[in-house]
């Protein structure tokens, strides 16, 4: 499948704008001082800059663009470890709702006035059953127990470890074969914050006790929408991981140029040079892989669920970009040496984000298993 892996001029401009805003409003000392979700930053990004609704049609109050533009934003958010629930709300929830054509809610999300989160554990991979991918063209029902059941438009159950649900106004809750919307402040909904490895993307344990809910999809379409939403999340997370890895590479290069030991910049030591060369090789590949996945998805129709090629591209993106982001963040800590190990240096923010992201939507291993089924490399 042919996809333009380069950035268009419009995409370049979008990137410059987002980068400039984040540099001014959200430099890393700000994140370090308070890594909790930043509502003011969200307003700026989502509402004022209009980036929450980038992928929502204009008639629903969105930007009428698509996932390619979302990806630009995610790359920049990865570069800055910005504490905003963009991936959760503007990508996963938005794409799931797009797939359900749930217009009323999309309108609320498009202008950034409300935020939504899909209520699944952070490590839920695309393909509802977890490990096994869907066969071509089919989208299995929401199996494998998300822990919530519906009874007469009321939800009851528990879902642990949900990302970015702390600040969500709307909760998209899958049950065994349906998809529901719950107001986060409704009676019967309780959110218990989790001390999270990545403080910029905190987890919440959610409990529903006969919480009133609105059903937006059921059966096969619900399965397809969930599959699509999670697939989009996995792919856009890869964009974020690429952005994060790229920042770590640049930071490491800076360190190698400016840190002197033994009378010369440590970047003149060949062992370190070769390590960064290898790191650049990896980051460059991460770019190609994440751009490809975004491109494949951007051309598709959400309501049909992900095509086989989209599933391949998503699995590939997560199998490849997650570990690279972790490796780059680890390299960054190591190359900064003692300083990189301190709380005062930003490297750990990236390390924690990368390590958490590598588990989000399923670890690399699960995506490789998914690929095996998709490309006819059967297990032993």
């Amino acid at each position: 499948m042919s996809v333009d892996l380069r950035y268009s001029e419009v995409e370049g401009e979008l990137r410059d704008n987002v980068r400039a805003m984040l540099a001014a409003r959200c430099p890393w000392p700000t994140v370090l001082a308070n890594p909790d979700p930043d509502p003011a930053l969200w307003s700026l990004l989502a509402t004022e800059m209009g980036l929450a609704g980038l992928a929502v049609p204009e008639r629903l109050g969105g930007g009428g663009a698509g996932l390619r533009e979302n990806a630009i934003v995610c790359e920049e958010l990865g570069r800055t470890v910005a504490p905003v629930p963009y991936l959760a709300s503007a990508v996963v929830a938005t794409q799931t709702l797009l797939a359900c054509t749930a217009q009323r809610w999309l309108t609320q999300l498009a202008d950034g006035s409300r935020r939504a989160a899909l209520v699944v554990p952070i490590d839920t991979p695309p393909g509802p059953s977890g490990v096994r991918p869907a066969a071509t063209g089919s989208h299995p029902g929401i199996a494998g127990g998300v822990g919530v059941r519906a009874d007469e438009h009321r939800l009851t159950g528990t879902v642990p470890g949900v990302a970015d649900a702390a600040t969500a106004d709307l909760l998209l809750v899958p049950t065994r074969d349906e998809l529901w919307i719950v107001e986060a402040t409704a009676v019967g909904v309780s959110r218990s914050p989790v001390v999270s490895l990545d403080q910029t993307r905190p987890l919440v344990d959610l409990t529903f006790d006969a919480a009133p809910a609105y059903r937006i999809a059921a059966g096969r379409p619900a399965g397809a929408a969930l599959h699509w939403g999670l697939t989009a999340g996995a792919v856009l997370l890869a964009a974020e991981q690429y952005g994060l890895a790229q920042w770590c590479l640049e930071a490491a290069v800076d360190q190698l140029k400016s840190r002197y030991q033994f009378g010369r910049p440590i970047g003149a030591f060949q062992a370190l040079k070769h390590r960064l060369a290898d790191a650049w090789v990896e980051v460059t590949q991460a770019r190609a892989v994440s751009r490809y996945a975004v491109g494949v998805l951007a051309d598709a129709d959400p309501s049909a669920g992900p095509s086989t090629e989209a599933q391949v591209a998503a699995a590939l993106a997560q199998a490849h970009c997650g570990p690279i982001a972790v490796r780059l963040a680890e390299e960054c800590v190591q190359l900064y040496g003692g300083i990189g190990f301190t709380w005062e240096h930003p490297a750990h923010l990236y390390l924690k984000r990368a390590r958490t992201a590598a588990v989000a939507f399923g670890a690399a291993d699960r995506h490789r298993s998914a690929l095996a089924g998709l490309v006819d490399l059967p297990p032993a």
């Binding site: 290069v253 960064l276 090789v281 590949q285 190609a288 590939l316 490849h320 291993d365 095996a372 490399l377």
Partner: protein, 408 residues
């Protein structure tokens, strides 16, 4: 406009030269003379001073008509590296003499750069060229164009010379002044491979066969007219050659499961009896890496097509080597005892090298070369670190010392 003009030129040419009738060489010569060989070359040298991007159009038109091509795979060094170097540095007489038979494939080219003592450090070549007594002082670095009638006497040894045994000409990098620092004392010649004193010996590889040659140069006399660039300008000329080598890398589009990963995937599919969960995971990791390299190649080609090459080509070279080595190794693990059967250890000179052919053992052994040939992975990493990432060069002692005084 150009497109239309070219289409009609091709049509016109074909009308006058029926490929079914005309002899292959005659046809190619005529195509060259019509400026339809490489349209971006100057008029009179096989081109029309057109844009490079238009060439595929012409090639496709000829292919569609069933015309013979110039078998570009048979003369890769000539077409890819010699031609642009000759175009840039050759005298009008040399261009006229060399480019047509080069393009038509009548004359095959080889590259006489590497030496046993100058591999990664190519600028350290020791093969000596001394100006013949009657022609002036060979050590005169700024002798330049002043002594036309002179000849040079060449002595030395070159290695890793593909096609030397078939080549009519070689691109030769030699040392003309050992008293200068190494980059400054080099000159560049077109070597007549039929000249007395040129001896080509097959160089056997660990696979048993000999793709390459050693070339021994003993008192080889070359006319000064065969020089490309000024005396002492050899390194600059060589860089032109090498830059054109790099451009050709990563240029071919690759389908999913192209290359060694496809061989491995097929072995997996056909040998369910040999599968284990551990090998499955390794296979999938390599498959993912192969896709990453393939997609990076796609990016490189898109950038090239847009006239914005970028440094990503080196990713493909570096990662593809590692990947092919790992995949060929895993094939052996997968096949167990069956993978240990070789076909033939006898010294052969293959007509064409298929790195993915023969046996799993051959593939494994041949892949070892991927990280050595065409620039070692170590040198590539240095280039990336310094030119792409802008990291400082290491301290170097060899830039300003006379070549003859360098330790070796």
């Amino acid at each position: 406009m150009w497109e239309d003009r070219l289409s009609s030129l091709v049509a016109e040419f074909l009308a006058g030269h029926d490929p079914e009738v005309i002899d292959r060489t005659q046809f190619l010569r005529a195509r060259f003379d019509a400026g339809l060989a490489w349209v971006h070359y100057p008029v009179g040298l096989g081109g029309l001073d057109a844009l490079r991007e238009l060439q595929p159009l012409v090639n496709e038109a000829f292919a569609a008509a069933g015309a013979p091509d110039n078998s570009p795979h048979r003369n890769g060094i000539g077409l890819g590296m010699a031609a642009p170097t000759i175009l840039r540095y050759g005298t009008p007489a040399l261009r006229k003499r060399l480019l047509r038979p080069l393009w038509t494939g009548e004359e095959i080219w080889c590259q006489l750069f590497s030496e046993p003592g100058a591999g990664s450090d190519l600028a350290g070549v020791a093969t000596r060229a001394v100006r013949e007594p009657d022609g002036g002082d060979g050590a005169d670095a700024d002798g330049g164009n002043t002594a036309h009638a002179a000849s040079w006497i060449i002595n030395g040894q070159k290695v890793w010379t593909s096609l030397a045994h078939q080549a009519r000409w070689g691109l030769l990098l030699v040392r003309t002044d050992p008293d200068l620092p190494k980059h400054q004392g080099l000159s560049y010649f077109v070597c007549d491979m039929t000249a007395p004193g040129v001896e080509v010996r097959p160089l056997r590889q660990l696979t048993g066969e000999a793709e390459f040659n050693e070339v021994f140069l003993t008192d080889v006399r070359l006319s000064d007219e065969l020089r490309l660039g000024e005396v002492g300008q050899g390194w600059q000329v060589a860089r032109t050659t090498l830059m054109n080598e790099r451009i050709t890398i990563g240029g071919r589009p690759m389908p999913r499961e192209g290359g060694m990963i496809g061989v491995l995937a097929e072995a997996w599919r056909h040998r369910p009896d040999r599968r284990t969960p551990g090998l499955h995971d390794e296979l999938l990791r390599l498959w993912v890496r192969a896709e990453a390299v393939r997609l990076t190649g796609m990016l490189v080609r898109q950038q090239l097509a847009a006239g914005d090459p970028g440094p990503e080509g080196s990713v493909v070279k570096l990662a593809y080597a590692t990947l092919t080595q790992a995949a060929s190794s895993l094939e052996l693990e997968l096949l167990g005892a069956d993978g240990l059967r070789y076909d033939d250890w006898s010294l052969r000179r293959p007509d064409r090298v298929d790195m993915l052919g023969r046996t799993p053992g051959y593939r494994y052994l041949r892949a070892r070369g991927n990280s050595i040939e065409g620039g070692t992975s170590e040198i590539l990493r240095n280039i990336i670190a310094e030119r792409v990432l802008g990291l400082p060069a290491e301290p170097r002692a060899d830039r300003h010392t006379a070549w003859k005084d360098l330790p070796r």
